[in-house]
Amino acid sequence: MIGSLLSIFIFPGFLFLMVFGLSAEFIDRKLYARLQNRVGPPWFQPVADLIKLFSKEDIIPEEANPAMFKAMPILALTATITSFFYIPTWRNEALYHFNGDLIIVLYLLTLPALSYFLGGWYSTSLFSKIGAVRTLTQLFAYEVPLLMSILAPALLADTWSLTEMAVFYSAHPWYWLFNILGFFVALITLLGKLEKVPFDIPEAETEIVAGTFTEYSGRLLGLFRLSMDIELIVGASLLAAVYMPFGLAISPIFAFILFLIKVLSIVAMVSVLRTVFARLRIDQMVNFCWRYLAPFSFLQILIILALKGFLVR
């Protein structure tokens, strides 16, 4: 009991994720600034922002439903943290695994988007309502390509569990190269899930103030910010686990460092993509996802199905 409590709260759990999330946010912002030829924030900036937000008073709008208003940030945070336990990070098998935990992880990763929508809708302000509706429309646009592109490696490994996929791919070393196309589709849809620039339409500050987070302030906004940082880490480690399953059998220390490198390289890719694109409109984003991302992920599945015939089990 103590071991699992320890692992939930301390090591691969809340504390580790918070530290890792904040440092990933720092790396993201510093790289984003350096790409724009700016100096960028000091290392303690994300922590300072969090402390500032937590020390501020959080105001709840009068017509908003206080229960739901307060519950949404917590829901977003818990969903992202629990999904981290099912992802095999530096050992061949995750903390908890059973057949079907791939679906659980993907479901838990859509819960934050749902909580942004409910949080925005229940704060009854004009801007957050428009932002909430945009979050949902964006959710439907990027969810199908993401699911398809993660399904492809699972099909190759014939399992629904992330851990068995990791075992399968470490047994057949070069198979993960077939999923490269799925990796790029997943990377772009990850931008949509994390609401980074090409798809940060729900939080477009020049159009609708702060979108779903307009009415949030103080601790609740701090929780939302924290859940977004951790979601960045969880998304990146999901992609790392599914698409880069190499080097897991070596000694724990090297495996851990390799895991850090993989996640930080994905975070670096996200911030480079964030720098070079302008924000799309919601209708452009939806037809981009359906016209380009979805067909590519179907193509990826076709490749996998064709390959399954030849590859020896």
Binding site: L35, N37, R38, V276
Partner: protein, 125 residues
């Protein structure tokens, strides 16, 4: 031809360049030599014609007579717009502008500075 992420080469190359921004309070940026900053007044040269008061767009300067042929300028940096028109209007060249521009202060009264005349006795003048 149209292709996505056009600025990618420029953006990646600036990773290796020195950032264009500098941390202002820590390393200061020097202004060009003839930059119009704070105005200074030399009581010796002033003859009290008050032309500068007439020409100042912001009404920031106030010349007071403190003795025979001795004048004192009361200057409100809070209202001055640093156009240096007074330095040109004054044909006695008693007003000059310096390059100093870091004049922010929390209290409006501290911005009112007075250049008072030398307290030597008037007999010697």
């Amino acid at each position: 031809m149209i292709r996505p992420a056009k600025m990618i080469r420029q953006v990646l190359s600036s990773l290796f360049k020195k950032p264009a921004t500098n941390l202002y309070p820590f390393n200061k940026f020097e202004m060009p030599d003839k930059f119009r900053g704070k105005i200074v007044f030399d009581p010796e040269l002033c003859v009290g014609c008050k032309l500068c008061m007439k020409d100042c767009p912001a009404g920031a300067i106030n010349i007071k007579k403190v003795g025979e042929k001795k004048f004192e300028a009361e200057f409100d940096l809070g209202k001055c717009v640093y156009c240096a028109q007074c330095t040109e209007t004054c044909f006695k060249k008693a007003l000059k502008f310096t390059g100093e521009f870091e004049l922010a202060s929390l209290d409006r009264e501290k911005l009112k500075i007075t250049f008072n005349a030398k307290p030597d006795d008037t007999a010697s003048k």
